[in-house]
Symmetry: C2
Subunit: 252 residues, 2 copies
DNA sequence: TAAAACGTTGACGCCGCGACAAGGTCAAGG
DNA sequence: CCTTGACCTTGTCGCGGCGTCAACGTTTTA
């Protein structure tokens, strides 16, 4: 048998057979006078066995070990390990498909933005915000931030936000604050609305702030780990509100 | 923000962030005077979005496309494709786990050889052979061959073999033939038992042979596609039996 | 006699980074 | 002032399991 016949009989490519030779999974067979590899039945058996193990999910090295050990001494442990690995993969796939199904459903009912690739829990809060708070640049940014920290890093914030939306009066107050913040988009940092809004925000967002800056060190917001990046993303007056708010909070 | 802070905030390595820059998934941010990359909130948002898509199973290129398109135009198709792919993988994993479970069960009850990584159907036939035919070199080789061609390439042979084992008389005759074949292991090719055995095999293995050499071209067995490799695996007298058998069959 | 269909070795590509190497930068401490 | 250590920079190799050229020799077929 030449390499093409062997490969065709077992159902692999000649490249695969040569690859197995190079990595030592199959021994190099005898060569014909012209340099062609010449295979016998025993080579074919070994290749077929290796393929069955590989198709089960063993790596080439593992398959080689199993075939080298006379009569599969360590096969059971490899199988157990492999099964555990497959079980884990299966669970992962199921989880992702659940997420995908939710996203595809949302895609069919409405629009689907990049922030919809988010856990169901966060998706519920985002949907609630969407119906409770009038649209605006700041609420959009907050939605983005909530989505960004999806995955356990801001679970406490989610709970506080839900509480704020549970009470219609609180929800209305929150919406009002968003609106006032939006109005400052082109204002000067000296605008008298800045300290007023900061004071009202400090009063209104008490619980939520507790969750976020639980251990806020003193100093200016710009000097905090992510503070500079945060305020840098806002226009001057809005940034000033954040700085004032941070000062109020750390001096509490 | 510097790269380490960004990476820590999103939960990836700095190496990953730089990799995303190189492949174009994230734009290179501004540099500080010392050459350090400096990130803002928008970079963080983009990275977090990309990560969520990637963790869902999108490739880096796909995630880049989705984030590049303003508001996910082609996201739904990618999601559908991805879900189909995951469904296929899930099915594959389930299939492999079924095979693994069967193998692990066999491993617990008895011994587990390299030929047990085989379909349930073939495994059943191998088990039947094991109890019906006394052990010997030839029956072992036949078991190996059956296992080798597992997977649809020899389904007809399986059926014929089952039929031979269904009838106790046929099973006994088959066992006898195996025994006589084994006796020829050290015999000369001129041994008078060779033609006698070939004749009896031709009579006994009619159906099975029909399945194997359904369209056997005339000529010597050694000149057939896999004939040389096959007879090369047998001692002289046994090889001669096979040649004679092939001649009988093609001149039928 | 030429073309096609085999065979040979060798090298690069894929995907998503991890793990080095070989440095430069910066703040804190002795 | 010097060192230490924790950052940052670019660049390259490695992984797994082959597919896919390239550039060439051999055998079989029209």
């Amino acid at each position: 048998m030449r390499i093409g016949e062997l490969a065709a009989a077992v159902g692999v490519s000649t490249r695969t057979v040569r690859h197995y030779h190079r990595v030592g999974l199959l021994p190099e067979p005898q060569r014909h006078a012209n340099g062609y590899r010449t295979y016998g039945m025993r080579d074919m058996l070994r290749l077929a066995r290796a393929r069955r193990l590989i198709e089960l999910g063993l790596t080439l090295a593992e398959a080689g070990d199993v075939l080298a050990d006379d009569e599969g001494r360590e096969l059971p442990e490899i199988l157990a390990e492999l099964d555990a690995d497959l079980a884990r993969q299966e669970e992962e796939i199921r989880l992702r498909r659940r997420q995908l199904a939710a996203m595809m459903a949302r895609s069919r009912e409405g629009r689907l933005g990049p922030d919809d690739a988010v856990s169901e829990e966060t998706a519920r809060l985002l949907a609630r915000i969407d119906v409770s708070i009038p649209d605006g640049p700041t609420v959009r940014r907050d939605r983005e931030l909530l989505a960004m920290f999806d995955g356990g890093r801001a679970g406490a914030v989610l709970a506080e936000y839900h509480k704020a939306l549970d009470d219609p009066a609180l929800a209305a107050a929150t919406a009002a604050i968003y609106a006032r913040f939006d109005e400052l988009v082109d204002a000067s940092p000296d605008d008298p609305r800045v300290p007023a809004l900061a004071a009202d925000m400090a009063a209104a967002l008490g619980g939520e702030l507790t969750a976020v800056v639980e251990a806020a060190p003193p100093g200016e917001l710009d000097d905090q780990p992510y503070g500079a990046a945060l305020v840098g993303d806002f226009p001057p007056a809005q940034a000033e509100v954040l700085r004032t708010l941070y000062r109020k909070w750390t001096s509490r």
